[in-house]
């Protein structure tokens, strides 16, 4: 009996975003778009609110004009442990992956009811209103990342915690016969962040950098009262740099 139950060695991937360090520079947004083949929707549609972002910098203004200060918050899919988007999908296109313990979108299965996007309290999901991949002119299509699906129109998409990088890291570790090291897997946003405000790692390992940061007294999660159990943890900033 005992040998049949395989010990659970899966990582619990999580992210910490330090709002004290974030300057709202949008480097993460750009890196994310490049890594994940996120299409340009064009100026008009982006202005209309159809821009596809897997993560975005929410900008708020605080105070009365002219004494306003901006505040920023990068928001992506919070990879909820108890995700509102999952039960509403009629075809299991948005599912919880047991392997990575994150929330994944199966583009091939999606039929485009857009129910998940309505039900996401973080508005982390983007819909392919048109076929954008065909609009990429000739040599420019070489920018596309071969490890990431190019989505067609009519499907929903969202942040995957760069699942292709997680897999690459796991495979490399497996080939070398060791566990994944802390900091070995870095999603595009964390890699691009000049202030190192985004920390990514294994939350199940208490010694990992992300776990230590998550234990900070400043830590909070977005819309905690909804009980979605997000895996993205924010560290409250003092507002010095608008964080």
């Amino acid at each position: 009996m005992a040998e049949q139950i395989k010990e659970q060695v899966n990582e619990r991937w999580g992210m910490v975003i330090d709002m004290n360090l974030c300057t709202g520079c949008n480097a993460c947004v750009t890196a994310c778009a490049m890594e994940n083949n996120i299409p340009w929707v064009g100026e008009d549609d982006a202005g209309y609110g159809r821009g596809i972002y897997w993560m975005r910098i929410q900008r708020y203004w605080e105070g009365e004009y002219p004494e306003t200060t901006p505040s920023y918050q990068p928001v992506m899919c919070q990879q909820c442990g108890h995700a509102p988007c999952e039960p509403v999908c009629p075809v299991f296109a948005t599912v919880h992956s047991e392997e990575e313990q994150i929330n994944l979108q199966v583009y091939n299965r999606c039929i485009g009811t857009r129910y998940c996007a309505n039900n996401c309290p973080y508005f982390a999901r983007s819909f392919n209103w048109f076929d954008y991949s065909y609009q990429i002119p000739e040599p420019l299509n070489y920018y596309l990342n071969p490890n990431v699906t190019v989505r067609r129109r009519g499907v929903m998409e969202k942040c995957t915690f760069c699942v292709q990088r997680i897999h690459a890291g796991q495979e490399q570790a497996k080939a070398q016969g060791r566990a994944v090291r802390d900091g070995e897997v870095v999603p595009a946003c964390a890699q691009a962040c000049p202030a190192d405000a985004i920390i990514f790692g294994d939350l199940s390992d208490p010694n990992s950098r992300v776990s230590q940061a998550a234990r900070s007294q400043r830590s909070y999660t977005l819309l905690e009262a909804l009980g979605t159990e997000p895996k993205v943890i924010y560290l409250k900033g003092e507002g010095t740099y608008g964080g």
Binding site: D45, Y48, G49, R50, G51, Q58, R59, Y60, V75, P84, P87, V88, C89, P90, V91, F92, R109, C110, I111, G112, T113, R114, Y115, A117, N118, N119, P121, Y122, F123, S126, F127, N128, W129, F130, D131, R153, G154, V155, M156, L223, L226
Partner: protein
């Protein structure tokens, strides 16, 4: 309703106003059976150039506004609609809920009034049941139209496949699909059962292609006692069984919203609130249709009388009051709950840029019916009822509009607040589905006996006092 089913004996010697009303509702100026049959058949075969013009125009509109635009939508993408983050649902779902709501009253008027033996239902049950079927036909398109990838819509259906993939039975959309399919099937059977004797009647009195159609549809009905007994049993089983189906369908439609995490949607009262709204809009639509039928279809002034519209008008008034109660209840509890998002939402509905929709909803659903429908004279004036019931349906459309895009646009992340305004393709599709409904109804009015002749005669005979010689014989209604 029940008050009107009093045995006639009570009022026999004191002809009161109530008696007068029942007399009109049941048409106590009976004509010979054959003449009734002829009148109904006449209404089906009588076509004017105006009719064919209407059919032609509607066909063109359905082909362009609905099918053409849908083809364009499938070809280019949902992006031609006005939807955007955060309003992922717009006119598509609003119109869907609207039509499903409309389709409710057919069953309500027919099945519930039948179960409660409300006698005034008799001449227009068929018209109401047809409205259910065609309302569903127009409504069932919308979950397909709104899909991003409609060509794989069948993935929502539990069908055996090589990968053992099932739909997600936790998703309200799957419940929706199953509920609507069930309702479409059962309401079609429920339409068909009382139609059998009338189809047989038409079969025996027509020739040519009509005869062929009716012969096939009448299933060899001969009108023997055994057949009648079975038919009555089947109708009464269906009339009872379809009522919970009807209630479940709109409850499940409301669960599309109530099961969500969207502020303003997850309200426990949404089920009954939607049902009351559906019946309000549906009964109003029945009146609209009856007024139009009465004005356009031959011989209908005999079958559909102001007293019928009057009786339905009272129902509309009652349901308008019930709707107001549910609206108030939903509003008050949500407001009292004190969640920031809901409070912001409620004040956004009442004072945001689209507040006029919210006020029009209250005006059309509460103020106008309450001001007009208490008056018997107005209830018996067809054109007034036409205007009032059309306004109620506009009001109910606005209600769904408030619940769907106007609520989605004002959620927990202020960064993602957004407004929604429909674009031409959506409006074209919505109008196209209205044209489809009207076209189907127009065509059916010349193919299907619009008045259940046998039910009308049954009513007339059940309530007329028979005299055999000098003895007054008790009638069926007194024995009931």
């Amino acid at each position: 309703m029940a008050a009107e089913v009093k045995p006639i004996a009570n009022t026999l010697h004191t002809p009161s106003e109530e008696h007068e009303e029942l007399r009109e509702q049941l048409m106590f100026d009976p004509r010979p059976r054959e003449e009734l049959n002829r009148m109904v058949l006449d209404s089906m075969t009588h076509t004017t150039p105006r009719y064919w013009t209407a059919v032609g125009v509607l066909t063109v509109l359905v082909l362009t506004l609905l099918l053409g635009m849908w083809g364009y939508l499938i070809f280019t993408g949902i992006g031609i609609s006005g939807e955007r983050r955060p309003n992922y649902w717009g006119i598509f779902i609003v119109t869907f809920v609207f039509w499903i709501g409309i389709s409710h009253a057919g069953t309500f008027v027919s099945a519930i009034l039948r179960v409660f033996k409300a006698e005034f239902r008799r001449p227009f049950t068929r018209a109401a049941e047809l409205m259910t079927t065609f309302g569903l036909a127009a409504g069932a398109l919308w979950p397909l139209i709104h899909l991003g990838r409609v060509w794989v819509f069948y993935w929502m259906i539990p069908y055996p496949n090589a990968r053992w993939l099932w739909p997600n039975f936790r998703s309200p959309l799957v419940w929706d699909l199953l509920a609507i399919t069930t309702y479409l099937l059962s309401s079609t059977i429920y339409l068909f059962l009382p139609l059998l004797p009338d189809l047989a009647m038409a079969r025996d009195r027509t020739t040519g292609w009509r005869h062929a159609i009716y012969r096939a549809l009448a299933l060899g009905w001969r009108g023997t006692e055994a057949e009648w007994a079975r038919l009555r049993k089947a109708i009464s089983i269906f009339a009872f069984a379809i009522i919970p189906v009807m209630f479940s369908v709109h409850t499940i439609v409301s669960w599309d919203f109530a099961m969500g995490m969207v502020g303003g949607w997850n309200s426990t009262i949404f089920g009954p609130y939607f049902i009351i709204g559906a019946i309000l809009s549906g009964v109003s639509a029945v009146i609209t249709i009856l007024v139009v039928l009465r004005a356009t279809l031959k011989n209908m002034t005999y079958f559909i009388r102001p007293e019928h519209i009057d009786a339905l008008g009272k129902l509309v008034l009652v349901f308008s009051m019930a709707w107001a109660y549910f609206f108030f209840n939903d509003y008050l509890v949500q407001w009292y709950g004190g969640h920031d998002v809901v409070r912001a939402l409620l004040s956004f509905h009442a004072s945001g840029p689209d507040a006029w929709i919210w006020y029009c909803m209250l005006l059309f659903n509460i103020v106008i019916p309450w001001l007009t429908l208490w008056n018997k004279k107005l209830r018996r004036t067809p054109w007034v009822m036409l205007v009032v019931t059309l306004l109620i349906n506009v009001g109910m459309y606005f209600e769904r509009y408030t619940i769907i895009p106007l609520t989605l646009g004002h959620q927990r992340m202020p960064f993602d607040w957004g407004e929604y305004s429909p674009r031409f393709p959506e409006i074209s599709l919505a109008l196209g589905s209205l044209c489809l409904f009207m076209l189907l109804y127009l065509l059916a009015s010349r193919l299907i006996p619009m008045v259940p002749v046998w039910e009308v005669r049954e009513g007339q005979e059940a309530h007329l006092v028979r005299k055999v010689g000098k003895t007054v014989v008790p009638t069926v209604s007194e024995l009931d």
